[in-house]
Symmetry: C2
């Protein structure tokens, strides 16, 4: 028997217990040994819970338990989770986590610690929930130069954008609904400001680049400024607005970014609606491969944590870790990236806008108080200068994604 402990009996933690216990037979079939959730660390009690008797409140009880060889860290955050993860790895216990903040902030540190103590630090669940993306990147797409990793990695914002589009609704109304039905948190900042997506693309970019990409330096825009009007314009252009998190490395320009983009139907990400996630990876030989599925959700995410547990269980006594250095890197290519922009300005600054930006195509859907257009292809740097110049005259702008993904 291989004993496992779970840190944090919340949504993903309880899901992980359920997956490991309920799917015990199929897992045993692969591991050739039984996985048992021996202890669950949580500050709370869970009277009446099926696994009530396994709840412990003191982390030392688990760290000092020589029978426990694998930890599932599903606490989230970088406070206690950071401390406990270090303790576990230092005790030679492998850690499997869904905690993206931790991986984005301290991934390389934990990997080094795992190596030093001959155990593993695995985090498939930290990006894309149940969608396998980290392991394919690390073990399948290994003969390619990765030119791009571009995805919809935040289910909450994708759900909101889909609702806005389908119901012709405004951001604030959709946010309220999303909060009411549990798709958005009471404090939705991390989702709607793009911070969550930023951490996820930082993780993926780090794995591709094999150095720690500083998420703080990734240009990140959320969806707060997207209005029903923007959705209407997008529809008129035959496009949908999606919040993309992307890492691009081509023609000597390398950058990561998070921002809303207008996509065409030829792009497989166009079809990704509601809470679903999808990540498109482009290799120089492979072309595009897209991974699509439930990016969040209790059991989908837990399935990925449990998959990591299975791999650790099959490799007890070995250190399975990503090739990721603690050396940090910030990419400098963003300003040189070139694309078209959809821009809306107040009707009164039409002339200034025409002067500041290369208008390629006017877009008219019946709002006479503003002037909307698509620019010619231009660099982010040049656009930023024009945007600065136009100041509050710009009502909103959204980037166009024109490289058909397939």
């Amino acid at each position: 028997m291989i004993n496992v402990a779970v840190f944090g009996y919340g949504t993903v933690g309880s899901g992980t217990v359920e997956v490991l216990m309920d799917n015990g037979d199929i897992i045993e079939n692969t591991v050739h040994d039984r996985i048992n959730v021996k202890s669950i660390l949580d500050l709370r009690d869970f009277p009446g819970d099926k696994y009530e008797s396994r709840i412990v409140h003191d982390v030392d009880e688990i760290i000092n338990d020589p029978e426990i060889s694998i930890i599932c860290e599903t606490m989230g955050g970088t406070g206690a989770a950071y401390k406990f993860t270090r303790m576990a790895l230092e005790a030679g216990k492998s850690v499997c986590t869904s905690n993206k903040e931790m991986v984005a902030s301290h991934g390389a540190e934990m990997i080094a610690l795992a190596k030093a103590h001959n155990c593993s630090y695995k985090f498939e669940a930290s990006v894309g929930g149940g969608i396998p993306i980290i392991r394919p990147l690390e073990t399948s797409l290994t003969a390619d130069v990765i030119l791009s990793v571009c995805g919809i990695v935040n289910g909450t914002t994708n759900y909101m954008l889909t609702k806005m589009e389908k119901e012709n609704a405004e951001f604030a109304d959709v946010l309220k609904k999303a909060q009411a039905n549990g798709y958005a948190e009471a404090d939705p900042t991390a989702d709607i400001e793009g911070f969550d997506a930023c951490r996820k693309i930082a993780i993926l970019a780090s794995l591709v680049y094999k150095k720690t990409v500083k998420y703080e330096d990734i240009p990140t825009e959320g969806i707060k400024n997207i209005s029903a009007r923007d959705i209407k314009y997008a529809g008129h252009l035959g496009r949908k607005i999606k919040l993309l998190a992307r890492y691009e490395s081509n023609n000597n320009i390398r950058y990561a970014m998070v921002a809303p983009f207008m996509l065409l139907p030829e792009n497989p990400l166009y079809h990704v609606d509601d809470v679903f996630n999808a990540i498109k990876v482009t290799g120089n030989m492979l072309g595009d491969a897209t991974f699509y599925g439930k990016g969040a959700g209790r059991l989908a995410t837990a399935s990925a944590v449990a998959g990591d547990v299975v791999e650790c269980a099959c490799n007890l006594g070995k250190s399975l870790t990503s090739d990721l250095s603690a050396e940090t890197v910030s990419f400098d290519g963003f300003k040189k990236a070139s694309r078209r922009f959809f821009v809306r300005v107040g009707a009164e600054v039409t002339a200034e806008a025409r002067e500041a930006l290369p208008v390629e195509e006017e877009v008219k859907v019946g709002f006479y108080d503003e002037f909307a257009f698509v620019t010619k292809e231009m660099t982010e740097g040049d656009f930023a200068v024009a945007k600065e110049k136009l100041g509050a005259g710009i009502i909103n702008f959204i980037r166009l994604e024109d490289t058909s993904a397939i």
Copy 2:
């Protein structure tokens, strides 16, 4: 330096050489050693080819070369490829292949041979071309009971169905075009009869079930009977026709099959057009994860072969093999599978059809010489009986896929 040989310098073989050599730096970055294609086995000479000097005609030259530790078998078929693969594995050389016939027919045998000689037999490229599917199934989706593997795994037929739909064209015309531009072979039997898809789903089902699924026993229908009229009916029903290869295991009914289905837009496979492939895997905890990309093509497939080479190179001296027993299995659930069918009969057998089949909905698109309808949900077994009864009265039938994939 790690020396590799390639068996068969055709489309995929030459692509594999290109990937391994041109991406040498990035591969070295992962393997921490240089991969070198030392020898290429082919009966032909390639005067003027960049790697002309590495061509050898005698397999023994490679088998007896102690410097060569990994073989890429890209010959195809089960003749010489079978013999040479055995020779390589018996000599302790790992084999990475794109040869689906070989894997479907002799996969377990080769795996056992690899284990016995402490080397590896890898075949990511045998299904889905460049799309990672075998490794995710084996290493990521390991905590789930796999309920379904359902995909579009043949690019030729998907290209043809897409053309028929977009150009309102007949099968024979589209086939000719596909042959002219290289998307279909001179002898298209393996593709259009579904045999290629059948071997691929046999491989995937075998990996899930961990026993060798006999591809000969998988009910397989191709797309030869699909006509422009069928496409028109499908459009009227808001559906597209796709050739699906599927393994299903749910409610104690287990089967594999290959046949055209009518899909709704809610199914991610609906959006997979042209030569693209996609495979949707459903786990009891995960839900659906879909893998999408170029299912064929020289460099995409070569990228997958090369990815296997990278894994073998990182694990020299170890045996990496799938958990797949040579024990064969044929599933018995097909007749019990339950779904709706779209059926067209000659107008003169309308009454008989109504008697033989439970008509749920008539479908009228303006062809008055026939009677077209959708049945109520019924089992494959019951449908087969009715089909037998109606005989030549049935013009065509196509199954409906109604379980929304997401």
